[in-house]
Symmetry: C2
Subunit: 269 residues, 2 copies
């Protein structure tokens, strides 16, 4: 089962829709301070289905963005999405982040969002993009950290379902706890002036948009997405799973609260 | 052992110094937006040794602050501290938060910081202070949440030492995971316009003041403070404890990162 999928979130239509919901809810929190100047060349490494690409391109309408992804199918979806959204400053390419088809020091800026967490060797990915980045160019990395999730009412079963997601991502060679690790990673890759900014999402029922857009449709949907694998791998039994997922939705209820933190790292070459 | 102490942090001199270190490091993060108008009457319920009192009084120099605590010894220390610091707008009183010696609707504002986490029934405390609060008066509550701590490099042993702190506080009738619960608590107490603002502390070695002032001298010192109880209660063995504490200090090292979140709730009567 696990060998068949390389990407923990899969490539289903529900998943594409989830990634786009997530992008619009979190846009301001994650992206408001990433604005590239007119004429600058930006590499988006790992664009997936283009959920972040559209935001990135809109925030920097006069920058020239090159978005790559290893999956041809995803690149095609990203291309269609940007066309549909009327975004014109992005060119797409199917390419491997570990073997980039660009000259050294091609780009003024590199942007990586929700990618390192899926890679077996994120440090090599950083070293690879560093090569194609100009001297004094900047890198921006945004990653989540599933270990930053906690909620009220507390529930051991709900924590176990989250642990399944973390473990499955780890079995696939990824690290969903990478957010807390951006500081040492960027430093080890030899970047300068590394600065990490945590972006915490706190949700209670006074914020119904976040309850729907983040807790339910982003986080809970992501956990629910590994149900089959978790049961098949006997990481959890069905009864515990069902209770855990119910408890995650209870934390999205009237009396519930939910916390999650993204990390945004910036540095220069 | 546990019966002898009511307050998880104890009353030692090292502890008083830790509470004051903590207060100055976190001042801006927690207190910058609490400023009471000239002439307003403010109740600080549970002032302890006065670490927050001094900040509160300085930020609102023309408000009239009444600070109470159940411990006469703490109130005396708080009084000495404010005298030493030249603060003159605070009067102190030994009093029980559950049985306040004030008329109903006496105060314009109530301020509670790091108190509810130590109480067996925080809801009753909120109902009690609500009585002495005027209609349309505000309440401000600041609490931590030890379950919000995570760090790099990860360590199961370090997590176990934190769990000891959480469990000992629970044995004493407290709840060190109360931060995430402020929203339902304030609502259940019947307050209106409840708004919760998380205040996350993210520390890496680019912030040496926070490494010293928060990770080492506040958080790690707090965990280390329950060593004897944890070992005596056989919650953990000595080898695991030592490894765990070493790992907490490793997270305060060159490659380490440390995260903790406080919650600040405000509401009106």
């Amino acid at each position: 089962m696990v060998d068949k999928m390389d990407y923990v979130h899969g490539y289903s239509d529900r998943e594409n829709s989830r990634l786009c919901d997530q992008a619009s809810t979190l846009t301001m929190l994650l992206h408001h301070d990433t604005i590239y100047p007119s004429g600058s060349r930006v590499l988006e490494a790992g664009c997936g289905v283009g959920a972040q690409t559209v935001i990135l391109a809109r925030n920097s309408p006069k920058a020239s963005i090159t978005s790559i992804d290893i999956s041809g199918e995803s690149v095609e979806k990203a291309r269609l999405l940007t066309e549909k959204e009327g975004v014109t400053n992005v060119s797409f390419q199917v390419a491997d982040i570990f073997d980039l088809p660009f000259e050294e020091e091609t780009f003024d800026h590199v942007f990586i969002c929700f990618v390192l967490e899926h890679l077996k060797n994120p440090l090599d990915a950083l070293l690879s993009v560093k090569k194609v980045l100009k001297k004094e160019g900047t890198i921006t990395v945004i990653e989540g950290d599933h270990g930053s999730s906690y909620f009220y009412p507390r529930s051991d079963e709900a924590m176990q379902t989250i642990k399944c997601l973390i473990n499955i991502q780890e079995l696939l060679g990824g690290n969903s706890l990478i957010g807390r690790e951006l500081y040492p990673l960027l430093n080890r890759a030899g970047f300068k002036s590394v600065s990490i900014s945590p972006r915490m999402v706190y949700v209670d029922s006074s914020k119904p948009d976040l309850v729907e857009g983040f807790t339910k449709n982003t986080f809970n949907a992501m956990v629910e997405g590994v149900r089959e694998q978790a049961l098949e791998l006997k990481m959890i039994d069905e009864k515990t799973w069902t209770k855990g997922i119910n408890d995650l939705y209870r934390a999205a209820g009237q009396e519930g609260t939910f916390c999650y933190t993204f990390f945004k790292g910036t540095a220069t070459k």
